[in-house]
Amino acid sequence: MSELHVLCKVNDTEYVLPAADVLQMESFAGATKVPGAAAQVAGLVQIRGRVVPVVDLRVVFGLTPIPPTLDSRVVVMKASERVVGLLVDSAREVLKIPADDFHPPPAVLVQQTDGLVKAVAQVGNRLLMLIDFIKVIGEEHDDGDE
């Protein structure tokens, strides 16, 4: 039993997202900023007529945001009723990863990533981290960043 996964890169680290939850992948040339929204919200983009909030995974992972490049991608994902885009540095490959290849992340990683990494898979010599989408979009800070 294997499942398709979208592979994306953030700061040269490779992450995977279940392809079944991915609606589409779009290039990214900037978003409409939403003043007052959480820090990781890069803004709003309009994709096929739908206005989609975009979460910058760089900010989620505590990195500084970078200006959009030609490789930047918004991976639009769906979770129950919500549709949110994840901004990544690049997203090119789709991989089949058997469910058995995923292992629970090491405790230190869980701690470092606030549980954003759900599982880790070893594919060849690559280490791929499965992102917990719900955790990413559910993570809405109620207070400022100061």
């Binding site: 003043p35 959480a38 206005v51 979009i137 400022g144």
Partner: protein, 685 residues
Amino acid sequence: MSDGFEASEFITGFIAEAEEHLTSANANLLSLDQASAAGQPTPRQVRELFRSLHTIKGLAAMVGVEPIVDIAHAMETVLREADRAAGQLPVGSVELLLRGTRAIGQRVAALAKRKPVAAAPSTLVEALNALRQSGSNRPQAAAGTTLADDLWARLGSAEREQLLQGLMAGRRGVVATFIPAPERANAGINITSVRERMATVAEIVKVVPQSIPATESAPGGLAFALILLTDATDEVVAEASSSDPATLRPIALQSGPPAATEEGEESDDDTNPRQQGVVRVEVARLDDALEKLSALVVTQFRLTRAVAALRATGTDTRALALVVADNGRQLRDLRSSIMRARMVPVAEVLERVPLLLRGLSRSTGKQARLELRTGKTELDKAVAERIFPAVVHLIRNAADHALESPAERRAAGKPETGLITVVAVERSDNQLELTISDDGRGVDAAAVARRAGVPVPATDDGLLELLTRPGLSTKSEVTTTSGRGVGMDVVKRIAVDELRGALAMTTIRGQGTTFVLRVPLSITIVDAFSFVSGGETFVVPVAMVEEIQELDPSRTVRGPDRRRVARATPDRRQVARGTDMIERRGEAVPLLRLDEIFGLAVEGAAGRKVIIVRRNGEPFAFAVDRMLGQQEVVVRPLDDRLVRVDGISGTTDLGDGKPTLVLDLVALGGKLITGPGPGRERAHA
């Protein structure tokens, strides 16, 4: 020879552009035709039409195609004057303008086939010029009757329409004059009795009081002009108005009604049983009612607060609260009643489609039968106006590209006459589903993919995505009706981007194509100002704005401690307590810099305009960089909690395909004083 090569390059570009503009011109003309039949002014369509023709003229002049320049020029002039007359087009102009776009289309087609271009049809150009002359001599009476200008000016648009429709339907128009005098009054003849008697022999369009020089027969210096539509003789009318038959003045149409069958069909409509008990109302009047209702809602809100304040003093307000709650419910009911009044039957929206298809059949030589199954479905007038051009595009495409010629169809074992079906169904989720299907050749996925330079899509969705890419076309040969398939991107833009609906397609080679358009039954459209602050564009509903002013530094008091307000991470409480004030009619108004509030402030940039809003009677001024304009926008709510922020009520698309934030400055102002605000800012803002 290089010259020739370049010119032909130009011409290819010209053909593509001209077709695009003709398509939009035709769509505008059709919606204009509808709107003017409903007695509505059409400033937007007139302006867009003007732009289309102006562009066509400029392009044609560039490539040196004089006949097109001539036709476009004549049309453009009519439209410019209509634009100045607030979108009021002279009677009969739609027909002439349609003939104009057709004439231009034929010449563009000739160019594309490298055939000689015929001279501009002189009858058409003359007719257009005649329209213009009648318009320019009588700007107010652009709609063209022989009614005296001073009387015409006193008629409302509905009355003008009533008069014109009556005249076009062949009724006699008459102006009778009633002069009141004491002896007449003694005999019981006054304007009221004249009105009553007149109503039995004629339809009174309007009674206009006029002052005239006082004479023996008119000691009051007053006369009433009765503008009438009647089938009665002059004697009967004169008798009813107690006046001399010689004083009656006839009203005639100035430029005769177009001889087209359309007009006949339309007057038939008036006697159609479906129309009985129906009042045609300008949408503007309903909008006006809605606006007054909003004022009422605000009052209700104040009432609620007053009750709360009273309760805080220990008064028993239970009985009062019940009344207020009832009142709120009634207001909501009233609102939905008004929204219902804005609904129009889909059948009515599509009633011109058969005509369109007849025209298409004639020009393509293909035979097509149309089946309209709309039932009793209705949708909001504003949605109807927006979706109509998309439906027209799809029907055009079906008739022009999808349906095969009779010979091809025979060879394929199909009936010679193609079938186009339009079905409207109301869905449970407040959406209207419009299905436009044909039994034509189906979409050639391979050809589409080739044109787009991509692999053949595996699914119909993928194919539709390619088809709706701007500028894509599968038709290498130009056809007169729908150009090169220009328009699928427009259909998608209207249905998906503007109306936030959906567009889907299924196609089977050799059997036909079905498009499904889903649009909301009604949409929230508000009149809004757009402006720039901190380099970003925002819109704010006009209804929310009390005033827009220049920011006058000499009337601004700059308070202390401003520098403590960090630029990128403002503390809202501090901003709110900020002592910047502007003086406005003796009142000190707190001045808030929107770019600072939003963490968008740029060093050295100072707002140049202030938008003043009022919350609970307290004014606030927001400094912004500059105003962009005013337009109607479709507001979409922001659902996701990631982006649900006080002061932002939704997004809209100003036409650039990007979301623009719709601000609730009143709530934002409130948030700033009642703080503590969310205080969230993007770290990388």
